[in-house]
Subunit: 680 residues, 2 copies
C-alpha cells in the first residue's frame, strides 16, 4: 500500500494528501487555500497560477521530485504561447499532483489579496468585494425540458460555483438571451452578494469568458464637494479619482440653509435631489473617461455622507433634520440599485450601498471614519476630528466610543472669510509671520516656493495669488496670535499697538494685510476682524464638541488626536493647537488620516465583511447631542479665547510662548465689544 | 385550589384553560384560533367580534354562567354607541374570561374566511392574501437614542405583531415621516409578505387607524383582451371587473405576428411593451373609477398571460419564442413592483406577482388554469381546454398531468372569419338549422329571443345584427354538418345538392346565407367555404393537441372535458363534439369552467400559499411540445374531417346521427381540392 502524495501550500502552510492526478486547484479548494479562479478550472482564466518548488524541504519533511507535477499539457502550452506564462509558473487547474510537492501561491493568484491602503499606517484592505465575476457554461434550451434561460443559468451557477439564490433585475434579463447565444452558452456573470441575506443579484452578463475589469465607486458626498475613487473590484487598485462641486450649493452654502430651502420651497428637496444625482452622474462619466473605461462596467457604488446629504441623495425631505429631535427617516445602512436612485451613468443594475448614519447630526461619513480609523480598537484614547462644513468627532478606545457633531460652519473651508476661497491653485495654503518684523511670507497651491524665495513671482505667474484657503486661514490666525498681532480674546491690534503698518484700520476694527496685489491688478488679501470672529466661532464649536465628549468619557485629556478630512491633511498640528481647535496633546500625537471617510467608503467597497462590521459598530457608538447639552454653551464660550480662556495647554506651552497682549484694554472700537462691555 | 376557567371556541373546537381576566382575543391567539384583529387588541378595529354562548353544553361538558365574561366596558359601550354592535356580540379584545365559556367566532371575524368562488363547483378560496393591514403605535424619536423613524416603526411591528424583516421602498420612505407625525405616532401599515423569504415590504402607510379597504388586481392579460378583477384584499370580494382591448393588436393580430413585428422592427418589442403597460394603466384607472376607489389603494396585482404576453409585459424581447426551441428568458414565477414594470396608475409600491410559465408555448395563463381547475387532484382523467387565440391543454389526474399548447389561431374567436366579429351586442352567438327545411334561426348577443320569435326585430333594433362571434361560428358549422349542408370533409354543397337556396355559389365554392340584411341596410352574414377551412384548421389543431396528450398518457379516451376561457363558457358541448373539437365523452361530462385563468389569478391574489403551490405544480407538469412531435401532423390531418376521419365518436353517435353526404364526388370546384386530388 502506498500513501497518496502530500501537497503543501505556501505561504498558508496548509497541507493534505491527494490521489495521484488531482489538479492543484482541486487540492487547494479542498484545503481552503486561497487560490483564485474565474473560469472554474477550465484553463481559460489563468487566475490560478502557482509556483511549484522542487528539491529538499527539511522544514516540511519532504523531498520534491522534478516530476512531482504532471508535464505541461496542451492548455498550458497554448496559454504560454499566446499570453506568456511567467517562468516557473503553472496553471493550477491543469497541473496535477504526481508525488509530494510544495506549491507557492503568488500574491496575484490569491482571491483575498491584501491591498496596502496607505503607507502612513500600513493598514491593509483585504479584497473580498460584494461583486465578483464568474464564468459559467450554461445548458442549451431543450424543448423537452422547457425551463427558461435564467433558470438554466442559475442551475449552472449552482452546479459550477455552488451559488444559489440568484435574482436578475429586468434590465439584465433583457440582455440574457442575446448574450447567452452570442457566447455559445458560455458567459461571464457579475454577481453581487447581499451581506445580510447572502442572496446574489445578477448585475451583468458578458458573452464567453470576459476578463475586462469591473469597477466600483467609493463616493464621499460632501456638502461642498463630491469626491469619488474608481476601484478595480478584483485588485482593489484605484484606477482614477475625481471630484466635482456639489451643485446643491446654489440652494444654500451650508446644510441648514439647504434644509431651510426645502422647508420654504415646495418641491425644493426634490430639486436638490435631482441636482446632486445629476452631479454624481457627471462625476461618474468624468471618472470613467479619465480611466478610459466603459461606465457600464461600474457595477457598484458605496456612499458616505452626512445625514442631510444622505436624505437628499435617496430622495427624502430633510426637514426633520433641521429641528429637534433631528429624527432621521432611516438610520440603518441601505442597499439599493442605481436605477432606484435615478443614477443613469453607471450600470443600470449597479448595486448601491450607503453606510449607516449614527444620529441625526452624525452621518454615514462619520460611520465611514469609524470604519477606517477604528477608534473602538484603539489601545489609547483617541479623538478623531473630521473637519468639513460640519465637524464630526469620535472619542474612544477599546472600552467605549462616543460621537457627536459640531456646527463649525464653513469658515474652516475658507467660506465666509473675506479673502477666502476653496483650495485651488493660487490659494494661500501656508503662512508664516516673523514675530519681530511682523512681516508675512506664504506659499500658494501650485508652487513649492515661499513668497520670499527667488523665482516665486515667476512660479506663480500662471495661477496668480487669488485668496486664502481653509488651511491658510488657520495658519494665518495662529501666526497672528504668535506674532502678537492678535490678542487672546481675538482682537487685532492697530498699527501703533502692534508696530506694523500691515495692521490697517477698517472701520472701527483692524485688518492684517498679507498680500497687496492691487498695483499688479491682483487682489488685496487681508485677515479682517470679521474673519477672526468666524474662525473663533468655528474653532470654539469644534473644541466644545471635543470637551463635551471628554466630559461624557469623564477625562480631562486625550492621548491622541487624528485629523481626518482633506482639510485635516493640510493643517499643521502646531497651528491647530495654537488656535485651540483641538485639545492639548504632544504635537507628535496629532496625526492626519487624510480622507478617512473616503477610505471608509473604499473599505466597504472592497470588503463585504466590513459592511456587517460597521453596521454593528454604529450601534455600539454612544451619540452625544450637542444641541441639547447645556454644558456645550459653557464650553463654547470658554473656547472663544485663543487658545482657550480656562484650559491650560501644557504641551503647547512647551513649544510655543504666546505673547501676552491685550488690545481690548485700549478701547479698540467695537470689534471686541462683547468682552469689553462685560468687563466694563 | 381552583382550576382556571375552560375556554372553548366554535366552530374550531379548540379549547384551553386561561386565568380569570384573560381577554378572549389573547386566549384565541394562544390556541391558534382564527380570530381577526387589525389594531392588535386596542379596541379600535372591532374586527375581533365574538359571540359568547350561555347555558348547558353537554357536548362540551360545561355549564356557562351568565357572568362567564366580564361586563361591558367603556370601549365596548362607546363602540356600540357610535357604530353599533350586533346583539349578542362582544369585542374579543375587551371581554375577559371569568369562568368556563363557549365562544363562537362568526365567519366575518375570521382572518382566513372562505369566499365562495362560484356556485357551480362550490370551490372556495381561503383568504390569506400576501398584503395585509396592521395598526401600530410607534415610539417617538429621542435625541438620546437617535434611531430612524423606519427603525422605530420596524421595532413596533416586531413588538406588537412579531413581524421582522421589513423593508421599505424609497417611495414609501418619502411618506414615512409626515404620516407618522400626522397620525401622532400611530399608523396603519400595509405589509406585503414574500411567499419565499417570508420577508415583508412596507407597501404603504396611513396615519392613525385606517380601515379603508385595500385592493388587489387579478389581471388576465390576453392577446386580444386584458381583463381585470378588483378584489378587496380583506374580504376577497370582487369590487369591480373591467376589460380593455389589448392595444398590441395594432402590431399583429396573433402572437406570432407580434413576435415577427419585434423581429422586423428595431425597438418593436419595446413599443409593444409600452402599449400594453399603458393599457393596463388605463384599465386600472377605469376599474378604480367604476368601484369609486383611490387607485393608490390598489396595493397588489397578479398577472396571468401566455409566454409572449409575459415577455412583452416585463419588457423582454419575445424573439426566441418565435422559433425552436422556443426558449423562455425566464420560466419561474416573478415578484416585482409596479414601478419596475412601469405601471403608474396603481400604488407606486404595489407588488406584482406573475405566475410561472410552464413552457415556451404554455404560459402563466395555463398555470393559472391548473391552479384553478386542479387536474392533479382529479380522481378521473380530465382534459382541460383553454380556448383563446392559442389553445392550451391540460390532461391529467392524480397520477400525472400533461400540458401542451396548440396553434388554433384566432378563428374560434371569430377572427379571420368572413362575417366574424368579437363577442359584442349584435353578434350571432347561437344558431340552429332545421335539418328538413335547412332554414336557420339564431340569437344575437343582447337579446334572449330567437330570430323567429315574435318581437325579435324590435328587440335587436338597438344593436342590429352585425356579424357572428366565436361561439356562433362553431354552432353554425356544426349545425350545417348536422343539417347535411356540409359533408364530413368540410365541403359546402350547392343549392341543388343540399336542396336550399341559402347555399349560394361564391366563385368555385359555396356559402351558406344565415342572414341577409342588405335590403335593410344591414350586413349579409354567411358562412363561406373559407370560413369552414379556418374552423377546420383550428379544430384540427385543438383535437390533435388533445390526442397527442392522450398518446403520451397512453389512453384512447378521457373521462371528462373542461372548457375554460370566456369562449368555453359560451359554446355548446354538443356542437363542439359534432365539430370534433374535443374527444368524444358523454355530453354531461363536458363542463364549462368559465374564465379559469382569471380565477387562478384571483386565487393567487387571495391566498399566498397558492403561489407556492402553483410554483411546485408547474414543475410536476410534463410538457409536450406539439411543434416537434411527428405524430402531431398525423393527428392534425385525421382531425380535419368533421367530426373525424378515423376516430369513432360513440357518445356523439348516441345522440346525433350525422347525414352521410359527400359533396366532393360531384367535383365541386377547388374548395375540397386537397382531398380530391389525393383521391383522384
Amino acid at each position: 500500500m502506498t500513501t497518496d502524495p502530500l501537497v503543501i501550500f505556501t505561504p498558508s502552510g496548509k497541507r493534505g494528501r491527494f490521489p495521484v492526478g488531482t489538479p492543484v486547484l482541486t487540492a487547494a479548494r479542498q484545503l481552503g487555500v486561497d487560490l483564485d479562479s474565474v473560469c472554474g478550472g477550465r484553463g481559460i482564466c489563468s487566475k490560478c497560477q502557482i509556483t511549484p518548488s522542487y528539491g529538499e524541504f527539511p522544514k516540511h519533511g519532504v523531498h520534491v521530485a522534478d516530476d512531482a507535477l504532471s508535464e505541461w499539457n496542451a492548455v498550458e502550452e497554448r496559454y504560454d504561447r499566446v499570453r506568456g506564462l511567467t517562468k516557473g509558473r503553472r496553471l493550477g487547474c491543469q497541473a496535477t499532483v504526481q508525488s509530494d510537492i510544495v506549491i507557492d501561491v503568488p500574491a496575484e493568484s490569491q482571491v483575498h489579496r491584501q491591498v496596502v491602503r496607505k503607507a502612513a499606517t500600513q493598514r491593509d484592505i483585504v479584497m473580498d468585494p460584494a461583486t465578483k465575476l464568474y464564468y459559467v457554461e450554461v445548458q442549451e434550451p431543450d424543448m423537452h425540458e422547457p425551463s427558461g434561460d435564467l433558470e438554466r443559468l442559475c442551475k449552472a451557477l449552482k452546479d459550477q460555483w455552488q451559488i444559489e439564490g440568484v435574482a436578475a433585475p429586468l434590465s439584465v434579463m433583457r440582455k440574457l438571451q442575446p448574450v447567452l447565444r452570442k457566447g455559445g452558452w458560455k458567459a461571464t456573470v457579475a454577481l453581487h452578494k447581499d451581506h445580510h441575506s447572502k442572496d446574489h443579484t445578477l448585475v451583468d452578463i458578458y458573452p464567453g469568458f470576459d476578463e475586462t475589469p469591473v469597477y466600483g465607486l467609493a463616493i464621499d458626498l460632501g456638502s461642498t464637494t463630491v469626491a469619488a475613487h474608481l476601484c478595480d473590484l478584483r485588485t482593489g487598485l484605484v484606477a482614477a479619482s475625481a471630484g466635482i462641486m456639489n451643485p446643491q450649493i446654489r440652494f444654500g452654502e451650508d446644510l441648514m440653509s439647504r434644509v431651510s430651502y426645502a422647508m420654504m420651497n415646495k418641491g425644493g428637496d426634490q430639486e436638490m435631489t435631482r441636482a446632486v444625482r445629476e452631479a454624481i452622474d457627471q462625476l461618474t462619466k468624468d471618472i470613467a473617461l479619465e480611466a478610459d473605461i466603459d461606465p457600464a462596467r461600474i457595477l457598484e457604488a458605496v456612499f458616505v455622507c452626512n445625514p442631510v446629504m444622505h436624505h437628499l441623495l435617496i430622495g427624502l425631505d430633510p426637514v426633520e433634520l433641521g429641528q429637534a429631535p433631528f429624527a432621521l427617516a432611516t438610520s440603518d445602512a441601505m442597499s439599493l440599485t442605481s436605477t432606484e436612485l435615478g443614477l443613469g451613468a453607471m450600470n443600470a443594475a449597479a448595486q448601491i450601498y450607503i453606510l449607516p448614519c449614527i444620529a441625526g447630526h452624525v452621518g454615514a461619513d462619520c460611520a465611514a471614519v469609524a470604519l477606517s480609523e477604528e477608534p473602538g480598537k484603539s489601545e489609547d484614547l483617541v479623538l478623531i476630528v473630521d473637519v468639513g462644513t460640519n465637524a464630526e468627532l469620535l472619542l474612544g478606545n477599546k472600552t467605549r466610543v462616543l460621537a457627536c457633531s459640531s456646527p463649525t460652519g464653513p469658515a474652516f473651508e475658507g467660506a465666509q472669510i473675506s479673502s477666502g476661497q476653496r483650495a485651488a491653485p493660487g490659494a494661500i495654503e501656508r503662512i508664516e509671520i516673523d514675530p519681530v518684523t511682523k512681516e508675512p511670507r506664504f506659499r500658494v497651491i501650485g508652487s513649492d516656493l515661499w513668497s520670499d524665495d527667488e523665482g516665486f513671482a515667476e512660479a506663480t505667474k500662471g495661477t496668480g495669488i487669488s485668496g486664502i484657503c481653509g488651511s491658510g486661514i488657520i495658519e494665518a490666525v495662529a501666526e497672528m496670535r504668535m506674532a502678537g498681532i492678535l490678542d487672546a480674546s481675538g482682537l487685532i491690534g492697530s498699527a501703533e499697538m502692534t508696530g506694523t503698518p500691515r495692521c490697517e484700520a477698517r472701520g472701527r476694527t483692524h485688518e492684517y494685510v498679507i498680500y497687496d496685489g492691487i498695483a499688479n491688478g491682483g487682489p488685496r488679501i487681508t485677515v479682517t476682524q470679521g474673519d477672526i470672529r468666524a474662525i473663533q466661532l468655528a474653532k470654539s464649536a469644534l473644541y466644545a464638541g471635543a470637551r463635551l465628549l471628554m466630559d461624557e468619557m469623564n477625562v480631562e485629556t486625550v492621548d491622541r488626536v487624528v485629523l481626518a478630512g482633506a482639510f485635516g491633511a493640510h493643517i499643521s498640528a502646531k497651528h491647530a493647537m495654537v488656535l485651540g481647535m483641538i485639545p492639548d496633546v504632544p504635537l507628535e500625537k496629532v496625526q492626519s488620516a487624510g480622507n478617512a471617510a473616503g477610505t471608509g467608503a473604499r473599505i466597504a467597497l472592497s470588503n463585504i465583511g466590513a459592511r456587517s462590521d460597521i453596521e454593528q459598530i454604529v450601534h455600539q457608538i454612544t451619540k452625544v447631542e450637542t444641541a441639547i447639552e447645556p454644558k456645550f454653551q459653557e464650553h463654547f464660550v470658554n473656547a472663544n479665547a485663543i487658545p482657550h480662556a480656562t484650559d491650560t495647554f501644557p504641551n503647547l506651552s512647551g513649544i510655543v510662548t504666546l505673547p501676552v497682549v491685550d488690545y481690548n484694554q485700549k478701547n479698540q472700537g467695537d470689534g471686541g465689544g462683547g468682552r469689553r462691555r462685560r468687563r466694563g
